[in-house]
C-alpha cells in the first residue's frame, strides 16, 4: 500500500473524532491529532483500536507512543504491515 492510500484509509478512521474540519481538509504528514485536528486525547485510544481492527494487527504499548500524528501513525502501520 502506498503512503497516499494509507493516508486515505487513516483519514476515514480518524474523521469521526476530528473537531477541526479545516485542519482535516489540509491534512499532511505533519498534522498532529490533538493540536491540529483537536481530537480529544481519550479518542486516541479509539483511533488505535480502530486501526488495529481495520488492518488486523495489534499495536503494543511501545509502538502506541508515537500514534499522535499522521506521520507517527503511517510509520507504525507500515512497520506492522511489513512484518505481517
Amino acid at each position: 500500500m502506498t503512503n497516499s492510500e494509507l493516508i486515505e484509509k487513516l483519514k476515514k478512521i480518524i474523521k469521526p473524532y476530528v473537531q477541526d474540519e479545516e485542519a482535516f481538509e489540509n491534512l499532511s504528514e505533519e498534522t498532529n491529532f490533538v493540536d491540529d485536528l483537536k481530537i480529544n486525547s481519550a479518542n486516541l485510544v479509539d483511533i488505535i483500536l480502530d486501526v488495529e481492527d481495520e488492518f488486523g494487527f495489534e499495536i503494543e504499548d511501545e509502538a502506541m507512543e508515537n500514534m499522535i500524528s499522521v506521520k507517527g501513525a503511517i510509520d507504525i502501520i507500515n512497520q506492522k504491515l511489513e512484518s505481517k
Binding site: Y17, N32, D35, N40, S41, A42, N43, L44, V45, D46, I48, L49, E52, D61, M64, E65, N66, M67, I68
Partner: protein, 200 residues
C-alpha cells in the same frame, strides 16, 4: 512543576465509550482496573483516573521536552476518595512520584498534579466558558493571578508556549520560574500555577 486537567463529563460521555472492548487494556494498569471495579460508580473512577494521568502527563512532557501517548506508563498507585467529591492520589512515572488533588462534581472532574516533594503553593481556577473564549480567558485569568502573586502589573506579563505546547509566563520577555498549566475540555477550562518558595 505543575500539571492540570479538566474533564467535561457530558462531553466525555458523548465522545467516548469507556466500555468499548480493548479500551481499558490500552489505558489502565491492573491496579487501576481494580480501583474501577471496586467502586460504586465505575464511570467516575474511569474519568478520575484519566484526568490524573493527563495532569501528570502535562508535567512529564515538560520534563522530557516531548509529546507521546503512553497512558499506562503513568500509574496511579494509591487513591483516596471522599464521598466521590474529592480525591488525593499518588502516581508514578519512571523514577518520579506525583501527588494529585482532584475535585469531582456531576459535571466535571478537575485534577492538579505536582511532582514530589512538594514545597510550594498552588493557585488555580476553573471556569465555564464558550470554546472560542476559553484560550483568551485562560491567559487573562492566569496573568491576573500571577500578577497579584508577584506584585507586578499585568501589562508587563505575557504567556508563550514552549515546543511541547506548554504555556509559561514571561515578565518583560524574561521567562519566569513559576510553572503554569492550562486545560480545557467541552465547556470547562482551568489553569494552575505554582511559584518558587520565596513568593509567600
Amino acid at each position: 512543576m505543575i500539571g492540570n486537567d479538566i474533564v467535561d463529563l457530558k462531553c466525555a460521555q458523548i465522545e467516548s465509550n469507556w466500555q468499548r472492548p480493548g479500551f481499558f487494556e490500552k489505558i489502565f494498569t491492573s491496579k487501576e482496573v481494580n480501583f474501577i471495579q471496586d467502586s460504586s460508580n465505575p464511570e467516575s473512577i474511569v474519568w478520575l483516573l484519566w484526568s490524573i494521568k493527563e495532569s501528570v502527563y502535562k508535567i512529564v512532557s515538560k520534563m522530557e521536552g516531548r509529546r507521546f501517548f503512553a497512558p499506562k506508563k503513568i500509574a496511579c498507585e494509591a487513591l483516596s476518595l471522599e464521598f466521590l467529591q474529592k480525591s488525593t492520589s499518588i502516581a508514578s512515572y519512571k523514577m518520579h512520584s506525583f501527588i494529585i488533588s482532584s475535585t469531582l462534581t456531576d459535571d466535571f472532574i478537575h485534577s492538579i498534579a505536582r511532582v514530589e516533594p512538594i514545597h510550594n503553593d498552588v493557585y488555580s481556577n476553573l471556569f465555564y466558558a464558550e470554546k472560542q473564549k476559553q484560550s483568551i480567558e485562560l491567559r487573562r485569568q492566569s496573568i491576573a493571578a500571577y500578577s497579584s502573586i508577584i506584585k507586578i502589573e499585568p501589562m508587563e506579563l505575557s504567556i508563550k508556549k514552549d515546543k511541547t505546547g506548554a504555556p509559561y509566563f514571561l515578565y518583560r520577555n524574561m521567562p519566569q520560574a513559576a510553572d503554569l498549566s492550562f486545560s480545557h475540555h467541552g465547556n470547562y477550562a482551568a489553569y494552575a500555577i505554582t511559584t518558587p518558595s520565596n513568593y509567600h
